[in-house]
Symmetry: C2
Subunit: 195 residues, 2 copies
């Protein structure tokens, strides 16, 4: 029996993370106790500490994983030979990636204020990495004469904010498909930085 | 002495609202108790109920007031004769108005999930009213041949999301002035919906 806990940890760990993400998104980090997460997973409160040292580590782990997955998935996106192709790929990728992870997106934005300073620094650096991917595309497009932006960094943040907005209104069952939405946003993004 | 409370209510009411807004923005609605708000204001917990029936009413009141002020202030903005002028006026107004109210903006977005259904309906309708102000400008610009947008409603939400992003990075003490930022965003908004 001594190994029961260990032998289940492979399936329990992702369930702890999924439960924490769901509860943080629904109620907010500050309102969710470790006891509540344990109840959602269906384990004793004490058992939760086999999977995470504390609630802060759980939040940080969720936000850091989200950023790693985002950066990793973007690195794998093909078809980025010209600045225009790269900008279209980024626009469509960002919308698709985030539309499948509304809770991650919401928690990652909303709970930044609840990260301890060291953890905040790590997440901020990862966010900057991602923003810089887009900023580089815009700078390349300016160099090639395809784009105009007086402040490429500001343009990158403006584009990302615009794309983040999709999650606040898009519904799978709605009139527009995700493909339609990608096309509409790509048109606006392209024009916003075009010559 | 019986009138003390009444004679102070004119100054206490706004202090209750300001304290609630600050605490909701800092810790999240679910994590803030009426007792904590009372302590922040410097009154007894029981005295708080002279100013608001409960915490939900306080949240709703803050979010509704924010939307009333936004719609009222926009109605007073001059220089909206042509669709292009109106779009520029909207862009600059939205950035200026929201940059002065970061806590209102944060709470209004983040705490939508904590509104009771009836209250949520009221706030959603006010938000739609505001979005429709911009949608109408875009439709007018399409009619006049100045703008192109296959889905004016989507374009309006994209523009508002882009402008909302300013609050996540703009700092008064930074290299760019608010006037610079307005000009940068106006350039991008104009091009995003231009022919």
């Amino acid at each position: 029996m001594a190994r029961t806990q260990g032998s289940h940890s492979g399936t329990t760990r992702p369930r702890v993370r999924a439960a924490a993400l769901r509860l943080f998104a629904q109620h907010g980090y500050a309102a969710v106790s470790m006891r509540k997460i344990a109840a959602e997973v269906g384990v004793q409160a004490g058992a939760l500490y086999n999977y995470t040292p504390d609630k802060q580590s759980l939040l940080f782990d969720l936000m850091q994983s989200h950023m790693y997955e985002l950066l990793g998935a973007w690195a794998d996106v093909p078809g980025r030979c010209t600045p225009l192709e790269a900008l279209e790929a980024f626009t469509r990728f960002h919308i698709r990636f985030h539309s499948r992870r509304p809770d991650d997106v919401f928690v990652s934005y909303m709970e930044l204020r609840n990260l301890e300073p060291g953890n905040f620094g790590v997440i901020e650096a990862l966010r900057r990495d991602y923003e810089e991917q887009l900023e580089t595309i815009i700078r390349d497009g300016i160099a090639s004469g395809d784009f105009v932006a007086a402040e490429p960094k500001v343009a990158a943040m403006a584009v990302i904010a615009m794309l983040n907005g999709v999650n606040t209104w898009f519904r799978e069952a709605g009139r527009l498909s995700l493909e339609d939405v990608e096309a509409l946003y790509w048109e606006m993004v392209r024009k916003a930085v075009s010559v």
